[in-house]
């Protein structure tokens, strides 16, 4: 009998199915509305007449909303869309077809990544639109401050949106890895949030505890630091808000870092799922 080869097309169909189900569940819509409301609410800073500094506040609030709600979407959707398949037994009907377990897992991950891309894209576009509109108003009110032209680097805003998507994608892959091993969606979701906190703060643990005398503590922190990615690296929104530019080297480095972790987590999720009894 001819071998059934690994099929990127099946991965794509499973990803598309996951994305369609997610969109119709309206979780994405709800989070976009909340993020948009929060971002638009930042415009109330105009009442304080901060001048061009107001643009920094709007940028910070916009990317803060993207980071916060994006993390929720990333963790919850990764865990929930996986466990839904198990609880509904739809995973049985899919895997009863000539479908690799790897195709299934990678398809689920692909669907979540697509969901996150749409979320980050829409919120970033909204933020850019709000900044453009507000900057135009400020340029008319305070022409002296804008002698050299617009102060917001819109390319930087777009790149920052992409970097946030990379961070959320790594988080999604990590959550899916936990889900592929765990027995409940609640455990997977909690583990995802714990991993986010550890990944965000682990550099600090290294700085503090790395100075301790106890070699056991230092070793423990070092090992722990190896297990989780450094999410702090992806926090470049502050720089964009402060008017700094993002270098091509930085963006390329972050993309490579994120792709490496996604590959590791995705591969391990496939490994765990292959050993999972359904």
């Amino acid at each position: 009998m001819n071998r059934v080869a690994f099929s990127p097309a099946r991965v794509r169909w499973i990803a598309g199915n996951t994305f369609r189900e997610a969109v119709r569940q309206r979780l994405l819509l709800l989070l976009i509305l909340v993020a948009a409301t929060m971002t638009s609410g930042a415009l109330f800073f105009s009442d304080f007449h901060f001048g061009s500094s107001e643009l920094k506040f709007v940028t910070d609030v916009g990317f803060g909303a993207l980071a916060f709600f994006g993390a929720i979407l990333s963790i919850v959707s990764s865990a929930q869309f996986f466990f839904d398949e198990i609880e509904r037994r739809t995973v049985l009907t899919v895997l009863a077809k000539p479908v690799w377990r790897a195709e299934f897992i990678l398809g689920k991950l692909g669907g979540v990544l697509l969901l996150l891309l749409v979320f980050c894209g829409l919120v970033t576009a909204l933020l850019a639109g709000l900044l453009w509109w507000r900057e135009t108003g400020l340029m008319k009110a305070h022409p002296g401050t804008f002698e050299t032209g617009r102060v917001v680097t819109y390319a930087g805003v777009a790149w920052c949106g992409l970097v946030q998507w990379l961070k959320l994608s790594v988080l999604a892959a990590l959550t899916l890895l936990v889900a592929s091993y765990a027995r409940s969606s609640l455990l997977a979701i909690m583990a995802g949030f714990v991993a986010l906190v550890i990944g965000q703060l682990q550099y600090l643990a290294r700085d503090f505890y790395g100075m301790m005398d106890s070699s056991l503590a230092r070793g423990g922190v070092w090992l722990g630091g190896l297990l989780f990615p450094n999410f702090q690296l992806f926090d470049v929104a502050d720089r964009v808000g402060a008017g700094e530019t993002l270098s091509a080297g930085l963006i390329g480095g972050l993309a490579a870092y994120a792709l490496a972790y996604m590959s590791v987590y995705g591969g391990l999720a496939v490994y765990c799922f292959r050993h999972r009894e359904l």
Partner: protein
């Protein structure tokens, strides 16, 4: 007993094996990616972190510390700036002072925090203290002088902190010059700071002009003349803010005042715009 052991063995063998493989691969991957991570981390940002974090925790407690370190640093700083603004609007000196210090501990990067903070310390707080000291005109000159000096000193120390984070930003030097001039009435020191500002890459055009004016005010017109002669060729004629014609006018005035001989007078060069822009004052 044997059944229990085989049960444990069964569980340990299967799930533990998977967990062990996952852990081992993560450790290897983490070790392999550590150099990539290190290349992207800026050593100077990380070196200051432990000290900053201890100060932060002492002031605001763990909750804010976690939010700051959790990647919402800029957002927390913005929120604190809003609180600063509200304290300022209420003319609450202690609260405004505390918040200004806190904002720049949380996020030292936005220059606006430092500049606006320095202005609030130097000018607004002076006004609040004078008001609380007595009606206008009723405050003794010595008390007035003391308050002005104290607030100016605080503002200048605040800006010295800013310079440690923004050593190449002309706006900090300009602010320091303004405080020396307006609050302390010290044009000589102000002039030094204007010159320092003018020599930085992002200097506003007016910094160099004001330096020359202060030199004239201090009776150092010849120095002013020499400075303006070196300045004018570097100014782009097509940029109104550069004030090329204003500077030329001041050169001519000084030539008359100083009675510069005709053959030694400044000849405005017919240099192309690009060359002018690329020249710097030495």
């Amino acid at each position: 007993m044997a059944g229990w052991r085989s049960t444990v063995s069964g569980i340990v063998n299967s799930r533990a094996k998977v967990a062990a493989v996952v852990g081992a691969v993560l450790l290897i991957a983490g070790a392999a990616l550590r150099p990539v991570e290190a290349a992207m981390r800026k050593a100077e940002a990380r070196a200051g972190m432990p000290g900053r974090t201890r100060r932060l925790s002492a002031i605001v407690g763990q909750g804010t510390s976690m939010a700051v370190l959790g990647g919402f640093r800029a957002l927390v700083a913005d929120w604190l700036w809003l609180k600063t603004y509200l304290a300022w609007a209420a003319c609450d000196l202690p609260a405004t002072q505390a918040m200004l210090r806190l904002v720049t501990i949380v996020d030292e990067r936005p220059l606006g925090f430092w500049l606006n903070g320095a202005r609030i310390i130097a000018y607004d707080m002076t006004e609040w203290r004078l008001r609380s000291a007595g009606r206008e005109g009723a405050v003794p000159a010595a008390v007035r002088r003391r308050i002005l000096e104290e607030q100016a000193g605080m503002a200048l120390r605040y800006l010295e902190d800013a310079r440690s984070y923004h050593p190449e930003r002309a706006a900090v030097c300009v602010e320091m010059a303004n405080i020396h001039l307006n609050s302390r009435g010290d044009p000589a020191t102000a002039a030094r700071w204007y010159r320092q500002a003018a020599e930085l890459p992002d200097a506003p055009y007016y910094a160099a002009r004001i330096y020359a004016e202060l030199l004239k005010h201090l009776g150092r017109s010849r120095e002013a003349y020499a400075w303006l002669r070196r300045l004018h060729p570097t100014l782009p004629p097509d940029v109104e803010a550069a004030g090329s014609r204003i500077v030329l006018g001041r050169i001519r005035n000084l030539e008359r005042t100083l009675e510069i001989p005709e053959n030694e007078r400044y000849v405005a060069p017919e240099v192309d715009v690009e060359t002018r822009r690329s020249q710097k004052i030495d």
